[in-house]
Symmetry: C2
């Protein structure tokens, strides 16, 4: 059985396309809210709400720097979701799943 549910806040964070776009964006480096909002056809408060949900899921960390709030990707949270899905690897790629197991155990 896949791991139990501490996954909920992460999958919730992943459920919205805007939030997934923000995640991709932050993969290139940390950014302030206004900077992020500028890339979407959406008001800043709306983006701020998405960031709050991402933070609840542990997907980002926020650091106040002067009057800016810098949002940084926290990729370990994504691993939670990836791990849940990895249980199903065996259905689409038995060979790779087995190899991964070997590699992970050897670390």
């Amino acid at each position: 059985m896949p791991p139990a549910d501490q996954t909920q806040p992460v999958f919730r964070a992943l459920a919205d396309p805007t939030r997934r776009a923000i995640i991709s964006m932050l993969a290139d480096g940390p950014r302030a809210i206004g900077d992020i909002a500028a890339e979407f056809d959406m008001t800043r408060p709306a983006v701020a709400k998405h960031l709050a949900i991402l933070k609840e899921g542990g997907v980002i960390a926020v650091e106040t720097k002067g009057r800016e709030r810098i949002n940084r990707l926290e990729p370990e949270a994504l691993k939670t979701a990836a791990d849940w899905l990895s249980y199903f690897d065996r259905f689409w790629d038995d060979r790779l799943a087995k190899l991964k197991t070997v590699v992970e155990k050897s670390s």
Copy 2:
């Protein structure tokens, strides 16, 4: 950048804990709706709605057999989500990510 958005219906399907439980359940084999609903503290129509969303995401396939409708896991759809997340592998395990790339290219 991670793959563009055909991911939405899949991530939507994954967003609800009941639906993830159904996915886990169907990993053990196909089941009829009533059979699934019996395992949840929820009415059958509610479960049927979840199944409809899972089907929209391509996560399950439905086959009518007499008066039963058998729900079967369609794991390729989960791969869509796993692939999106795999882009971020590099953040938590560079070594494994590189190895995976090698293995996948060699197939």
